[in-house]
């Protein structure tokens, strides 16, 4: 087990550098005129252009620029964004709120998906099953650009149940509505997967055996069926967590949360290489760690899986 984790961690180092290199190369390729992007619609003088090119090493070739970046990264310096802020500070500002938001969204989504999924699998064809099918199809079909503003308008402004916007230092209460909106992105798929997986396992031989042994229904479902059925769901949740962190651009915009999605969007818009690479680097780490946790959970759920 321990050796397995060490091996995975070593792989993560390689993946990390590979990913940052690719992202850096991509940002370099799309970089057209970041200095003009920085000043917006204003004209810029030659003297300013020269000074800014110097400051951000924009005149150097790709490998020299990448070398500057990696040198900084290895000494714990994520570099300076084109907005002249330290990328490390921006990371420290943006990550906590996004992490809270996406973890809340995942908890909401997983709770609903697993509960409703198990119930509809047990009562296949019932009203509940059909109703959840319809509701999840509707939620799945509605894009987030529609759900988020409508939720804000209805529950925030008209009914006044929830705070309208969240902000950077948002409390858990302020984040509840955005998290629910974000959860709607993934709840449908998670629910369908849970239902299919539980339904399949309910027909398995070991379930019949457990029933024949005279175990209570709750124990059969809660321990025997669920444990086996959760493997695909856990995989999905792991992937979703990463996706929610990087993909919350719309939700973060509507609810005014200056998190990771917002910063990535801003960085790409202003051709801000260091900003994008910094955020993506941390995203890569998060993805890797989440996937490691997911793999470890497999072993916990299915004793046949052993890592050496």
């Amino acid at each position: 087990m321990f050796r397995y984790i060490v091996r995975r961690l070593l792989q993560m180092v390689l993946t990390f550098f590979g990913a940052t290199f690719i992202v850096y190369a991509l940002m370099f390729a799309v970089q057209d005129d970041p200095i003009q992007a920085l000043v917006g619609e204003k004209p810029i003088t030659d003297s300013q252009r020269a000074a800014l090119t110097e400051r951000y090493h924009l005149g150097d070739n790709f490998f020299a620029q990448y070398w500057y970046y990696i040198k900084g990264l290895l000494t714990g310096d994520f570099g300076t964004s084109m907005t002249n802020r330290k990328v490390a500070d921006m990371l420290a500002d943006a990550w906590p709120v996004t992490l809270r938001l996406s973890v809340m969204a995942i908890v909401i989504a997983a709770t609903i998906a697993i509960l409703a999924g198990v119930v509809s699998a047990i009562r296949r064809g019932s009203i509940f099953d059909n109703a959840t099918l319809v509701v999840t199809l509707i939620v799945l079909a509605m894009p987030i650009v529609v759900i988020a503003p409508i939720a804000q308008l209805v529950f925030g402004i008209k009914l006044g149940w929830f705070p309208v916007t969240a902000g950077r230092d948002a409390s858990l209460w302020q984040l509840l509505l955005p998290a629910a909106v974000l959860a709607s992105l993934v709840v449908a798929t998670e629910l369908r997967v849970t239902r299919a997986s539980v339904a399949e396992n309910l027909r398995a031989d070991y379930v019949r055996t457990a029933r024949a042994k005279g175990l209570t229904g709750a124990r059969v479902i809660g321990v025997h069926v669920l444990r086996n059925s959760l493997i695909p769901v856990i995989t999905l949740i792991g992937v979703d967590l990463g996706a929610l962190m990087s993909g919350a651009i719309v939700t973060e915009k509507v609810f005014n949360i200056p998190g990771v999605g917002f910063n990535l969007f801003r960085g790409i818009r202003t051709e801000d290489g260091p900003l994008v690479v910094g955020f993506v680097s941390v995203l890569v780490i998060v993805f890797l760690v989440v996937n490691l946790i997911v793999d470890l959970l497999y072993a916990a759920l299915d004793p046949r899986i052993r890592y050496e």
Binding site: M1, A50, A51, N84, P96, R100, K253, N256
Partner: protein, 544 residues
Amino acid sequence: MRGNGPWKMAAGAAAIALLAAGCSGGSSDDDETLPNAISIGIVEPESLIPSNTTEQNGSSVLASLFYPLVRFDENSNPYVVAAEAITHDKANKVWTIKIRSGFTFSNGEPVTADNYINAWNYGAYGPNAQLASYFFSRIDGYAQMQSVDPDGDGPEKAEEPKAKKLTGLKKVNNTTFQVTLSAGFAGWESVMGYDAFYPLPKAAFKADGVLADGYGDAPVGNGPFKIKGKWEHDSKIVVEKVADFKGTVPKVDGITWKIYQDLGAQYADLNAGNLDVETKIPIESLASASGDLGDRLQKSPSSAFAFVGFPIYEKEYQDKNVRIALSMAINREEMTDQIFLGSETPATSFVSPVVAGYRPNTCGENCEYNPTKAKQLYAEAKGPTDIKISYNVDGGHKAWVDAMCNQIKASLGVNCSGSPEPKLSDMLKKVREHKSVGMIRLAWAMDYPLMENYLGPLYTTDGSSNYYGYTNSAFDSLVREGSEAATPAAAIKKWQAAEDILADEMPVLPLRFGQNVFGHSEKVTSVEMDLFQKVDIYKIEVAS
């Protein structure tokens, strides 16, 4: 154990992640601290260093932290504020500024002539790359402070500039200093109303000409408010009243500048009563805004001027009759009514109505919607049969560009299509390389309220924003003569004569003048916005 080990471990890991995520939260905001405080929505400013601020968000915040030399009355004429008197010689070349004594920065330092001179030198020095440094370019010695890149744009390092100080700045005594311009300019007093001309305290510098780290995050100014804590990036900037401020005292005790990524989110907060002023109602909310806000939705003139530039470097557009025909082919009013829902007004002049010397409808017949005459003129001039209008997609221009194209199609019977570019910089790059981009969507907002600030950058041969390559030496010299005229009135005369040339030649197609369309909550009254798209912080007050 049988699998329980990793089970526990994984559960532990998940718990730690949850804990880490949860415990950093908690503190709920807001301005509960001061009862007489208000909140105003902005977008994350680019910078809070006066000489590096060229957009209205940073400028709004700075207006609360600093006290300018001059402010502007409703006719856009400057009057002294932090200055006691501003005088000049006959040629408008040497300006003597006497500042009012007794003023201090919010850290207690007295405001002296040195504070102005040091700040301006810092702003003008090329290697500091201050975005507003071009404001100092009229001062003697500016050119010697700029570095020249030996190979244009490249690996070779630029040389250090010859000078570190503006030779045109001279201290007379503690409260008086002299500014010598490289050429006489009657409007210089107005220019000094801009942010770049604020003084910086000694505390702002760690060495001569080097700004202290972190000053930009917590600027100390000479204004009616001081910053509370630091600029909380992407979140908010809180300012509170300075005790016994010597100048005009604002009526509110504090302002929270709330930072939003999105105007829509800002509008939602305004509606829910979490925000007191939104300075720009998003266009998608305009239809419902009058219902939502009632008489709390307001409009005021702004300096924005939207126009379409003709690529004069292209042969097809060199005949002025082609340009005039295109201008006659479009219905400006229909566009502002249907697409902008009255939030902007049709433009038929080449300078904004907010500057002194503006005359309505200088464009005359050439900007009147007249499809028959347009078609005739266009046919005679053999205008191009395929017209493109380039625009940047990130600015919400598609709707009106398409509408304009439809009008051109209907009036002239030619093909017209919008040509989207990802960003303005992509478009301008193509224009600079004189690639075939067709007509170009452009806009301008003034830096200081003078006609010259439209005529100079937009239409003179070496104007900083004259991307379309218009050149007319008679026009250039009229603008220059106006700048050097002895009095503002004489200057305006020259500039108006210059504008008449534009009306005849149509280097650009004037389209719309902007307005501030803003809204406020029930908590505040006397909300006014100035020509620079800023809330007047001296007038706004909390409703009793």
